[in-house]
């Protein structure tokens, strides 16, 4: 053996083994466990990919472009929201802040998270193109909802009955989603809580808007509607400084339960509720509990179900009949409740996604719609309550909701949150056939239930026009 040959050979082998070890190390990161790094939050490549995802457009039910994505020369995308009236419903999309409301609920569809898109992006480096969606929002109804809530703090929801289409939704005050990145911190700290979707995510006490529920219990147990009740207009004391009375100022009067319902006077319901009894009240409250659990189909971020304590006939009766007890609901839940009333006792399941248009496709594909309904009360009871609510609009505290030649029923209510007044209006409108619409309005920091009813009337009129346009 010549000198150096054996040693040289060993060094060469060691070096070659070293290269193989490095290849194995690279294989580990590139092939065996790439996802452990690719999916890390601090991987800037994930951000870069996100910046190049061309999210799908969002259209209203009648074809108005509500949100779209601009792409600059460098392939960087910007989300644009051109229709201000739709901002409260659309929410926002931000690479940094995430997505909310419609943008959040249908994020997976909008960003094109399909296996085919991912494969195409991986192999051909084609930008990921999201799927366009058409939502059920009607541009006229949505415009009315937004316009009438302008300057207010509160929420409004309009649902088509019996199918459950969300025709309009708003939460006020409104923020501009086009500048969400710049404004986010300010909005987050803002006392007005603009980022909070008051329509679906915030729960309020029902106040005297609980009366339709109490009335259903009364009707189911055969309580007399036309018997006179003394001192019916007296307010119910909630505390030393706070009391809830009728929705409009009335002198000391004796009223029937029907009239008390029309003016949202709470006192007569104390007797009625006692007469209904604990079992029946608990049953109806459990049904409301089930109803408040209903969410917009596809909305994962909607408010959790309201927590309801059992009805107690002795303690806290005033709190129960004034809706200031444990039961809290979102405006969406109240709209669903109204929907159940106008839908002959069957609760519709609301939905927002109407159809999708995949990249390159020319035909919209209808999204699956929720088909189930939840029985809330009997058809007879529901129809009797509809009549009582029509009476409210004609002769009661909800008169501001009346519109000529439109069949509208409604009810107003007054609630308090930490001593601050809240005004409710729930109402329905009927159109041709079984077509109807249900609306819930909540105005914060005002006891002007007439204003709530007026806003409700305008929205119901817009819903009516929309429904007639669909089915003249």
């Amino acid at each position: 053996m010549v000198p150096f040959a054996r040693e040289s050979q060993r060094i060469m082998l060691a070096i070659l083994v070293g290269f193989i070890v490095i290849a194995i190390g690279a294989f580990q990161w590139a092939v065996i466990m790439p996802d452990s790094l690719n999916t890390r939050d601090d991987n800037p490549r994930a951000v870069e990919r996100e910046r190049r995802i061309v999210r799908g457009d969002i259209y209203s039910a009648d074809g108005l472009l509500l949100a779209h994505t601009d792409v600059n020369d460098a392939g960087i995308v910007t989300r644009q929201y051109s229709v201000a009236e739709a901002w409260p419903g659309l929410g926002y999309y931000s690479m940094v802040r995430g997505a909310a409301r419609i943008e959040g609920a249908f994020d997976t569809i909008l960003r094109g998270d399909s296996a085919e898109a991912a494969l195409s992006n991986r192999l051909l480096h084609t930008p990921i193109q999201g799927t366009n969606i058409r939502v059920t929002l009607d541009s006229a109804v949505q415009r009315m909802v937004s316009e009438r809530l302008d300057g207010q703090a509160g929420a409004a929801v309009a649902i088509s009955i019996p199918d459950g289409r969300m025709l309009g939704i708003s939460s006020a005050p409104v923020f501009d989603p086009n500048s969400i990145d710049a404004d986010y911190e300010r909005l987050r700290e803002d006392a007005a809580m603009q980022l909070l979707d008051r329509a679906t995510e915030r729960r309020y006490p029902l106040g005297t808007a609980i009366q339709p529920v109490l009335m259903i219990a009364s009707l189911l147990t055969g309580q007399p509607l036309d018997a006179m009740i003394d001192n019916a207009t007296e307010p119910v004391d909630l505390s030393d400084a706070l009391s809830i009375g009728c929705a409009v100022r009335l002198p000391a009067l004796s009223l029937t339960l029907r009239e008390a319902f029309a003016f949202a006077c709470p006192t007569p319901f104390i007797g009625a509720t006692n007469a209904v009894g604990e079992t029946a009240m608990n049953t109806i409250f459990e049904q409301v509990d089930a109803l408040t659990a209903v969410r917009i189909s596809g909305y994962e971020s909607a408010a959790p179900a309201a927590q309801i304590r059992g009805y107690t006939p002795i303690e806290g009766m005033e709190a129960v009949v004034t809706g200031q007890a444990d039961l809290t609901v979102s405006p969406l839940a109240m709209a669903i409740l109204t929907g159940a009333i106008v839908n002959d006792g069957n609760t519709p399941v609301p939905f927002m996604l109407d159809a999708t248009l995949a990249p390159g496709a020319s035909t919209w594909v209808h999204a699956p719609r929720p088909t189930r309904t939840i029985a809330f009360t009997t058809a007879t009871t529901a129809r009797r309550l509809q009549d009582l609510m029509r009476y409210n609009v004609v002769n009661g505290a909800a008169q501001n909701a009346a519109r000529p030649n439109i069949d509208i029923g409604g009810h107003v209510g007054l609630a308090y949150v930490d001593g601050r007044p809240m005004s409710w209006f729930i109402g329905f409108v009927t159109a041709s056939g079984r077509q109807a619409g249900a609306v819930a309005i909540l105005l914060e920091d005002t006891s002007d239930t007439g204003l709530a009813a007026d806003i409700g009337g305008d929205i119901l009129a817009a819903v009516h026009a929309s429904l007639l346009a669909e089915n003249p």
Binding site: V2, P3, F4, A5, R6, E7, S8, Q9, I11, M12, I15, L16, G18, F19, V21, I22, A23, G25, A26, F27, Q28, W29, A30, V31, M33, P34, D35, S36, L37, N38, R40, D42, N43, P44, R45, E48, R122, L123, H125
Partner: protein, 437 residues
């Protein structure tokens, strides 16, 4: 009979080596097509046509180099030339893609490197001169190191960056690169003379204790001194380890003693332990190597981003210009391997490793050809080991197999000094390849 004469000089023997003539040509043509296609993509993605200047430079250097290596010296190993040109072309392409402003400069260095290679190939009696003037060369190298310590600067201008460069204006060079050649030449010529002693049975004899003689212990002390100076004064961990590894390789080959490897391993561990507590830079690199995930956004940012390039590249890569390798700091220099991983995927990584393996195996084959010529053998082993160990160090660091050491990937990374010195070493290897034992 003296124990020193117990080690016979080997009789020259003929080692058959196949000249893969056409393989080298095919490789270069394939590389040319690869570079042109990718340059087209770089132009389309970046909108900057400057990359074509680099491609033209590479084609010119490759063509002239191909012709002149044959004309200047017959029988050179064409595959070594081809693999080096492929890697330098790929590196040039990546530099144009990552830092277009640096691309032109690297193209100039490619020309200079090619000239250096051809010079090494044909300079009259180059190997003999280097051997004769080894002490002068060593003195020059030491002075250069001293000058770097005294007048060193960093082209980036950052005060905290290691001052490893000499130069002014826009022209800088890294003396430690030149020192690589100096050390290989000195150690090869010295050990070629002393290897009979190193291999003799009298080395550790009680009476004679030859291992303590200045002629044996001298180079050990010298190398240790150089490594310590580089580590302490220049805080250049990578170069210190590289020089030490080079020394161990050559000493092992010259002495044939496994104890050299054992002692070297022990020394490295001991020195590593001491350096860990003495030098922040060593402590940092070991800590982030052990667990980079505890501080991925700060201290371990570079290695974490480097690993992410591999996962982002997957098997086929993102395609040149379509990845985000620039998130790795100093991507164009120390982390070019990571850039290739992201944009050319695991296939690109394997290709680079395969090219280096070809270069290494062919170079060791050249060492084997120098039978009976210890100086030439040790020169070939030295240069080859230098390129291989340097590659292993940076690639191993980039994939987190070993702690990071800031050295360049030969032929691929940005850096004029590294490129020119690497080509010069290849020139000598080519020269040796033409001299069959």
């Amino acid at each position: 009979m003296s124990t020193l004469s117990a080690v016979p000089l080997a009789a020259p023997a003929v080692v058959q080596t196949r000249q893969p003539r056409h393989s080298a040509l095919y490789l270069l043509v394939l590389a040319g097509v690869f570079l042109v296609v990718n340059a087209l993509q770089v132009t389309l993605v970046t909108g900057n046509p400057r990359v074509w200047l680099g491609i033209a430079t590479w084609i010119a250097c490759t063509g002239i180099g191909w012709i002149l290596t044959r004309r200047l010296l017959a029988g050179t190993d064409r595959l070594i030339f081809a693999t080096c040109m492929v890697m330098s072309g790929w590196g040039l392409l990546m530099i144009y893609r990552l830092l277009p402003n640096f691309g032109d400069r690297q193209a100039v260095w490619l020309v200079v490197g090619t000239v250096a290679m051809l010079t090494a190939l044909r300079f009259p009696d180059l190997l003999g001169r280097m051997r004769r003037y080894r002490y002068s060369i060593l003195l020059g190298g030491t002075l250069l190191l001293l000058a770097t310590i005294l007048f060193g600067t960093n082209p980036s201008g950052f005060a905290s960056a290691p001052a490893l460069w000499l130069g002014t204006g826009s022209v800088f060079f890294q003396p430690s690169e030149l020192l690589k050649i100096v050390l290989v030449v000195f150690l090869a010529s010295y050990l070629a003379e002393q290897y009979p002693v190193l291999r003799s049975a009298a080395l550790f004899e009680r009476k004679r204790r030859l291992f303590l003689a200045p002629r044996i212990a001298g180079p050990v002390v010298l190398m240790w001194g150089i490594c310590v100076v580089i580590l302490v004064w220049q805080r250049d961990l990578g170069t210190a380890i590289l020089f030490f590894a080079l020394f161990v390789c050559l000493l092992y080959v010259a002495s044939g003693s496994n104890w050299v490897l054992v002692a070297a391993a022990g020394l490295i561990l001991a020195a590593g332990a001491v350096a860990y507590f003495l030098f922040d830079v060593v402590q940092l690199r070991v800590d982030i190597w052990v667990n980079p995930w505890i501080d991925p956004d700060n201290r371990a940012y570079q290695i974490v981003q480097s690993l992410m390039t591999f996962s982002a590249g997957g098997v086929f890569g993102q395609g040149i210009g379509l990845g985000y390798p620039s998130y790795v700091p100093v991507i164009h220099s120390d982390f070019m391997f990571a850039a290739i991983a992201e944009e050319f995927g695991f296939l690109g990584v394997i290709t680079v490793i395969a090219l280096l393996m070809v270069l290494v195996s062919r170079s060791f084959r050249i060492a084997a050809l120098q039978q009976g010529k210890p100086y030439q053998t040790l020169l070939a082993v030295g240069f080859c080991s230098l390129i291989a160990v340097q590659s292993l160090m940076i690639m191993g660091g980039v994939v987190k197999i070993i702690p990071l050491t800031g050295v360049t990937l030969p032929f691929i990374s940005y850096g004029g000094s590294s490129l020119v010195v690497s080509f010069f070493m290849v020139g000598i290897l080519l020269r040796l390849s033409a001299v069959k034992g």
